[in-house]
């Protein structure tokens, strides 16, 4: 009441009119917008077709994820000299369905003192983030993927970094100590390995020159070579970080059933638990897809185009698509198999060792690799072994040989750097702690003692 001048008055006088006009504008605008934008073509382009694609992809990926669980169980059974599921359907093929039904009809428990909203939200975040990124994966030539966005790789990285919120919030909302510890571990782990995975991808970007997933595949297609040849150190860092990123053994800190019971999902049951479970496997698929795309040529296999060219014109595209999807699936499968293999072979890291691995090994390796790869690239460019034509790299066989050899040689300086950094590290330099690690222990021959009289 005392303030009767200055901007206040202006604001008081002006705001109703301004607000009114705004609201008016909005409501006047809405019908006009609807009529002008919801044209049949637009609707088809932006709504119907994507929905169909998404539906198909969801069904396919969900089935794949379900069978990935079966594959994991079968592979682990094979590794562990046992049979695995074989009762439900032939070869246990109906096992995923049985599991799904079991989890669906199980009682869904929300702990009494849990934060109900967040508790419910957490698995949804996990699931959504795991599935959204499926949209940008290059399953095959560009018409076989849902969308090909400009920043595909960055999109995947950022969305999967949001996905970890599901784990953290789930652990926190359970209002229980083991989940909380799991959530704490998970958040620290994610931040560390997110950095490593991001940096190792940067070195790959020097060759891909785009974030677009299709673009990455095309870059390898135009060169006729897979980037794993040029980027071997980066590939190794990527695989290790990817396992950590998906929270799988030997990096399954957040679950660690022998330490934290079940970690973040200790309090989850029934369908909510199964959502976490599906999200974990979907994440595996996504991460292996990134690996396959970045390093193994995505859906591209050298010689593919030649085979397609031999076919009649009408079948060419279809054949390419079919081959592409198959190749992509096989590559993802190989990486997934590697993940499964690692899980059932290695013991679990300890939390601090995991951090050390992330910050003292993978990060420096990734950083050094960026510098080295950039140097190699610039030298190659100066030598005329590689040209950039309209943002696309071109090189002859000399260039390919040069980059392959240089990429492999880059291992040595990286290893030297890691050695220099970790020479005094306690939990990795085990030899500093014991002079010898005996293969078997000393044996003593005790003689039967003399009994007292």
């Amino acid at each position: 009441m005392m303030i009767a001048s200055g901007p206040w008055m202006l604001a008081l006088n002006a705001s109703p009119k301004w607000l009114e006009s705004l609201v008016e504008q909005f409501f006047a605008y809405l019908p006009a917008w609807l009529t002008s934008n919801l044209t049949p073509t637009d609707a088809a382009d932006f709504i119907v077709w994507p929905l169909i694609q998404i539906g198909v992809m969801l069904v396919v990926v969900l089935t794949a994820v379900a069978y990935l669980t079966l594959a994991e169980r079968k592979v682990s059974a094979w590794i562990q000299a046992r049979v695995g599921p074989n009762r439900t359907g032939p070869l246990g093929l109906l096992q995923p369905a049985a599991d799904g039904i079991k989890l669906l009809i199980k009682e869904d428990v929300i702990p009494f003192k849990a934060d109900k909203t967040v508790f419910t939200l957490a698995p949804i975040i996990s699931m959504v983030c795991a599935f959204v990124v499926l949209a940008v994966l290059p399953y095959g030539p560009h018409y076989a993927s849902i969308t090909n966005i400009n920043i595909g790789l960055l999109f995947i990285l950022s969305i999967s970094s949001v996905g970890v919120l599901g784990i953290i919030l789930g652990g926190w909302a359970s209002n229980s100590k083991y989940p909380l510890l799991g959530a704490l571990r998970s958040s620290a782990q994610m931040v560390s390995y997110e950095a490593a995975i991001g940096l190792t991808i940067v070195s790959a970007l020097i060759f891909t020159r785009t974030f677009s997933m299709q673009g990455i595949v095309e870059a390898q297609r135009s060169l006729g070579v897979w980037f794993v040849l040029f980027l071997f150190p980066s590939f190794i860092v990527f695989i290790v970080s990817a396992v950590a990123e998906t929270n799988r053994a030997p990096f399954d800190m957040a679950e660690a059933e022998s330490e934290l019971v079940g970690g973040f999902h200790t309090e989850y049951s029934g369908f909510r638990f199964s959502i976490f479970f599906i999200a974990e496997y979907a994440n595996m698929v996504v991460v292996s897809a990134i690996g396959a795309t970045l390093y193994l040529g995505g859906w591209y296999v050298p010689g593919m185009d030649w085979v397609a060219a031999q076919l009649p014109e009408a079948y060419r595209e279809a054949a390419l698509t079919l081959m592409g999807i198959t190749a992509f699936a096989i590559k993802c499968g190989a990486i997934l198999y590697l993940f499964i293999w690692m899980r059932w072979t290695f013991p679990r890291y300890r939390y601090d060792q995991l951090m050390e691995l992330g910050w003292k090994w993978l990060m420096p390796a990734a950083l050094a690799n960026i510098v080295l790869t950039a140097t190699i690239y610039i030298i190659g460019k100066e030598l005329g072994l590689v040209r950039s034509v309209e943002g696309v790299l071109q090189m002859d066989w000399q260039g390919k040989v040069y980059f392959t050899v240089a990429g492999l040689l880059a291992m040595f300086p990286i290893l030297a750097l890691l050695n220099a950094i970790n020479r005094n590290s306690k939990s990795f330099n085990l030899r500093a702690q014991r002079t010898t690690i005996p293969i078997s222990t000393r044996k003593v021959k005790l003689s039967p003692g003399v009994k007292p009289a």
Binding site: S158, S161, L165, L169, L184, A188, E218
Partner: protein, 194 residues
């Protein structure tokens, strides 16, 4: 800025959700909920960046702020006992803070209205080339393997025109890292590792 078509719809959706989430961020009692609303705000802002055709910035926003900073926020929130703040209602200090915040908010609103009345930034006309960029639909069949203009522009700008601020920021961050490590390093750790 001209808002047309789908962009307008998404603009309004994102803006309103960002605003509401921002209000909830400061008004919610539970710190973890605050962090959640802050995340919503950030994601909505990332969407606004996308509308501005700044895809890289949008991606980086989510990656850095949500995936990195907010996760660390949550990490600390879970470690620290925050229950006392949840349980205690407003105290005098909070009231004073609320009053000041309300004052500042009103002042801002007034300023915005004032500039708007004077033909402020709401009515600036975008330049022709900017309009062209904005109104260009991405070509779905564009040749792949070409680096994004946005990313390239950003990179070039960062390392040419903005190199000094960039370096200053990096030195600042380095200082922050060293400082926090020094603060967090206690005697026990030093005994263990030295």
């Amino acid at each position: 800025m001209l808002l047309v078509g789908w962009e307008a719809l998404f603009f309004w959706l994102l803006t309103l959700s960002a605003l509401f989430a921002a209000v909830f961020t400061v008004s919610t009692r539970n710190p973890v909920h605050c962090a959640l609303f802050l995340i919503s705000t950030l994601i909505a802002t990332a969407g606004l960046f996308l509308l501005l055709r700044a895809e890289f910035v949008a991606g980086a926003q989510i990656l850095v702020y949500v995936g990195g900073i907010l996760v660390l926020f949550l990490f600390v929130l879970m470690l620290v006992n925050t229950r006392s703040e949840v349980e205690n209602p407003f105290n005098r200090q909070d009231k004073a803070g609320a009053f000041i915040a309300a004052l500042v908010g009103l002042a801002l609103l007034g300023a915005v209205t004032y500039t708007q009345q004077r033909g402020g930034f709401f009515k600036t006309k975008p330049s022709a080339d900017r309009l062209a960029i904005e109104n260009a639909r991405p070509d779905p069949n564009a040749p792949a393997g070409v680096i994004s203009a946005d990313t390239e522009t950003l990179g070039v700008t960062l390392y040419t025109r903005a190199v000094l601020p960039f370096e200053i920021a990096s030195v600042l961050l380095l200082m922050a890292i060293v400082g926090s490590v020094l603060l967090a390093r206690d005697r026990r750790q030093e005994e263990t590792y030295d």
